[in-house]
C-alpha cells in the first residue's frame, strides 16, 4: 500500500514508458550490438580483452567470453565455454545429433538500470555520463555485493587488486575516439559499439534494422547489449 502510494507519487500518470527509456538527451550514450549470425567462435574478443586490460590469465576471470550453444535433436541443450572460448572450440557432439549450434559472445551489458550500481554500498561502481558502467578501484571495498547482483555473471573479484573488476567497454580507448579492443579485433565484425543517441550511428541502424533482443529482459536491467538472432534458450 505504502509502496503503491510512493510509486504513484513519483511517477507522472500514464508515463510508464519512462521505465524503459532512460536515455540522456545530450552527449554520446554507448551501447553494444552483437550479431550472432556473424560470430565464428574464434575467441579473439576474449583473448584481446585479457591482453588489453591486464585481466589475469587464469580461466576464472573474464571481462569478455564466448559461449558455444548446441541444441541437440533430442531437444537437450549443451553449453560450453572452455577458458572463455579464448582457445577456440572443438565440437564434441557428433554432427548427426546436432539440430543447431551457434556462438554467443558475452560481456557486461552496461545496463542503464544496473543492479550492480544500485547495490554498491559505497558508490564505487557507477555509470559514466556516456552510459558505461565502471568500477573505481581506489574506492571499491571488495564486498562483492555487485557480483551477486549482476544477472549476467560479468563481474569478478580481481585476485591481486582485491577489488571487483569488469568490462569498461575499453573506456580508456573510447575517450581517445577508439573502439573497444574486442570490437576492433573481431575478424567478422560481429560486434559493434557506438552512440545510441546518434540515429545515424552504425549501432542505431543495427538495432533498427535487425530483430534485436537483450538477455533476461524480464529483469528490467535496461541492458544495452543488443543481440541479433538470439535464440530463446540463451541466458
Amino acid at each position: 500500500m505504502a509502496g503503491t502510494l510512493a510509486v504513484s507519487a513519483v511517477l507522472p500518470s500514464f508515463n510508464a514508458v519512462l521505465f524503459a527509456a532512460t536515455k540522456p538527451k545530450k552527449g554520446p550514450w554507448y551501447g553494444i550490438a552483437i550479431d550472432i549470425e556473424k560470430c565464428i567462435g574464434c575467441g579473439s574478443c576474449a583473448k584481446t580483452c585479457k591482453i588489453e586490460n591486464d585481466v589475469p590469465p587464469e580461466p576464472f576471470f573474464f571481462r569478455s567470453w564466448v559461449e558455444q550453444y548446441t541444441i541437440k535433436k533430442d531437444g537437450s541443450i549443451n553449453v560450453v565455454s572452455p577458458n572463455g572460448g579464448i582457445d577456440g572450440f572443438t565440437q564434441k557432439i557428433p554432427d548427426n545429433e546436432i539440430e543447431k549450434t551457434f556462438f554467443v559472445p558475452k560481456m557486461c551489458n552496461h545496463c542503464s538500470k544496473s543492479p550492480c550500481v544500485q547495490v554498491c554500498p559505497v558508490g564505487a561502481t557507477f555509470e559514466s555520463p556516456e552510459g558505461v558502467v565502471l568500477v573505481d578501484e581506489k574506492y571499491c571495498i571488495g564486498c562483492r555485493y555487485c557480483i551477486q547482483a549482476c544477472p549476467y555473471g560479468c563481474r569478478y573479484m580481481h585476485p591481486t587488486k582485491k577489488v571487483v573488476d569488469k568490462c569498461t567497454l575499453c573506456y580508456h580507448r573510447l575517450k581517445k575516439g577508439l573502439n573497444p579492443a574486442c570490437m576492433d579485433n573481431c575478424p567478422t565484425k560481429a560486434r559493434i559499439s557506438g552512440d545510441l543517441n546518434d540515429p545515424d550511428s552504425e549501432i542505431s541502424e543495427f538495432i533498427r534494422k535487425k530483430n534485436v533482443y537483450v538477455l533476461k529482459p524480464h529483469l528490467n536491467t535496461g541492458s544495452k547489449l543488443y543481440y541479433n538472432a538470439l535464440n530463446q534458450e540463451v541466458r
Binding site: 576464472f60 549443451n78 577458458n83 543492479p115 559505497v122 585476485p159
Partner: protein, 398 residues
C-alpha cells in the same frame, strides 16, 4: 601454485553442466554465513528480553538480563566477519562516511550503530545504573574504577532516580523491538532484493529471516540459561524454562509455516528457475537443507517441544530435552543461513549448471576463522557475566 588458484582449479573439475566462467569462485563464503547468523542471534535474544519487559511475561524474568547481555556480546562481534571478508577491509569505514543510498547494504552501518548505541547500550545502562553505583562503592581496585566510570558520574540512586531509570529503560525497549525487527528484517532484505538470484529473490526473505532470528535467539538464551545454572550449580526456574520453550515452540511453528509457504509458492509457481532449484534442493543441498535444516533443526525440535506442551515429564528430563532441542535449533538455523548464502551461489545464473564449494580449514575464510567468530561472543558474554553478574543485581521493579 597460488593456493587460491589451486582451489579454483579443483572447483573447475567439479563443475556440473554450464556455469558462467566468472562463477567458479564462490564469492560469499562462511563469513557471510555467520553474518546473518550472528545478527539473528542478536535480534532474537533481544526480542526475548523485550517479552519480559514490554509484554510483562513475568515468568521470563530470570533470563531478562542474560538475554540482553547475550544480545550485546553477539552484536559486538556481528560486524567482524563482514569486515574480514572484504577485499579491502581498511576501506570498510567508507560505508559509513560515503554511503550509497540506493544500496541495501549501505544502510547496515547505521542500523547497526542505532541498535548498538541507542538500543542495547542504553537499555543495559539504565538497567544496571543503580547496581553500578552500588558496586562502585563495594568493589576494590580496577573493578571499582571501571564501575565508577560506567556510572558516567550519575550517582543518584534515590527511589525517584531509579524509577526514572525504569521508565527510560522501558521506552528504550519499546523503541528496541521495532529496531530488532528492522535489524534482522533488513539483513533478509539484503538477500531478498537481489533479483538476479531466484533462490534469494523473494519478498518473504525479510520475514523468514526475522522469525528464524527469533527462533535462534530464543534457543540460544535457553541454552545459555541452562548452562549458566549448571555451572553455578543453581536450581533452574522451571517455569521460566517452560515459558521460553513455549515461545520457542510457537515461533518455530510460524517460522516453519513461512518457510514452507515460500517453498510451496516457488514450486507451485514453477517459474524459469524451477528446474535448477529443484535440482539444487535435492542434490547439492540435500544434506544441509533437508537433513540438517529441516529435519534436525526444525522437525525434531518441533516434535519435542510440541510433545512437552501436552505432557510434562520430570524436571531433569525436561531440562535435558530443552538443552538438546536448543542446540539442535541453533544448528538448524546455522544451516538455514548456510543454505541461503552458499546455496544461492551453487547454481549458475545461467540456470544451466552448478559450481561446488569446499570449506577450507585455514585462511580468513576457513573453518577455524569462522569458529573463532562464533566462540568470541561467548567469551565476551562470559566476561560480561563476570563483570555485571545478573545474580548480584538488586531486584528491579519490572
Amino acid at each position: 601454485m597460488n593456493p587460491q588458484y589451486d582451489q579454483l582449479y579443483q572447483a573447475l573439475t567439479k563443475v556440473v553442466g554450464y556455469i558462467y566462467p566468472n562463477e567458479i569462485e564462490l564469492n560469499w563464503s562462511i563469513l557471510i554465513v555467520l553474518y546473518p547468523y550472528i545478527t539473528g542471534l542478536v535480534a532474537g535474544a533481544f526480542i526475548l528480553a523485550s517479552l519480559e519487559r514490554v509484554f510483562n511475561v513475568n515468568a521470563l524474568k530470570p533470563t531478562y538480563v542474560i538475554a540482553l547481555l547475550t544480545s550485546f556480546a553477539f552484536l559486538l562481534v556481528a560486524t567482524m566477519p563482514l569486515i574480514f571478508h572484504l577485499g579491502q577491509p581498511f576501506r570498510a569505514w567508507e560505508i559509513m562516511i560515503t554511503p550509497h543510498l540506493t544500496s541495501a547494504m549501505a544502510i547496515f552501518g547505521f542500523v547497526y550503530i542505532w541498535y548498538l548505541m541507542v538500543v542495547l547500550v542504553l537499555e543495559i545502562w539504565f538497567d544496571y545504573r543503580r547496581d553500578l553505583v552500588i558496586w562502585s562503592n563495594e568493589s576494590k581496585g580496577v573493578k571499582k574504577w571501571l564501575y565508577k566510570i560506567l556510572t558516567l558520574g550519575v550517582y543518584d540512586i534515590s527511589p525517584e532516580a531509579v524509577k526514572w531509570d525504569e521508565k527510560l529503560g522501558y521506552i528504550v525497549t519499546v523503541i528496541g523491538i521495532p529496531s530488532a525487527f528492522l535489524l534482522h528484517g533488513y539483513v533478509g532484505f539484503i538477500f531478498g532484493s537481489i533479483k538476479a538470484n531466484p533462490w534469494w529473490s523473494t519478498v518473504m526473505m525479510p520475514i523468514i529471516f526475522l522469525f528464524s532470528a527469533m527462533v535462534s535467539g530464543i534457543a540460544l538464551v535457553m541454552v545459555i540459561y541452562i548452562v549458566i545454572n549448571y555451572i553455578r550449580k543453581q536450581k533452574i526456574d522451571m517455569l521460566c524454562l517452560d515459558t521460553i520453550a513455549k515461545y520457542l515452540f510457537y515461533i518455530i511453528i510460524i517460522d516453519f509455516t513461512m518457510e514452507s509457504l515460500d517453498q510451496i509458492h516457488r514450486f507451485y509457481e514453477a517459474g524459469e528457475s524451477f528446474e535448477i532449484i529443484s535440482l539444487l534442493m535435492s542434490g547439492k543441498l540435500f544434506f544441509t537443507l533437508l537433513i540438517m535444516q529441516i529435519f534436525i533443526g526444525m522437525l525434531i525440535p518441533l516434535l519435542a517441544l510440541g510433545f512437552l506442551q501436552f505432557y510434562k515429564p520430570n524436571e531433569k528430563l525436561r531440562r535435558m530435552i530443552y538443552l538438546v532441542t536448543g542446540i539442535l535449533v541453533l544448528i538448524g538455523i546455522f544451516f538455514m543461513r548456510w543454505n541461503v548464502v552458499i546455496g544461492g551461489q551453487l547454481f549458475s545464473k545461467s540456470f544451466l549448471g552448478f559450481t561446488s564449494f569446499k570449506l577450507s580449514l585455514i585462511g580468513t575464510e576457513g573453518f577455524l576463522m569462522a569458529s573463532i567468530w562464533l566462540v568470541v561472543p561467548f567469551l565476551i558474554l562470559a566476561a560480561l557475566l563476570w563483570l555485571f553478574p545478573p545474580w548480584k543485581k538488586s531486584p528491579s521493579e519490572h
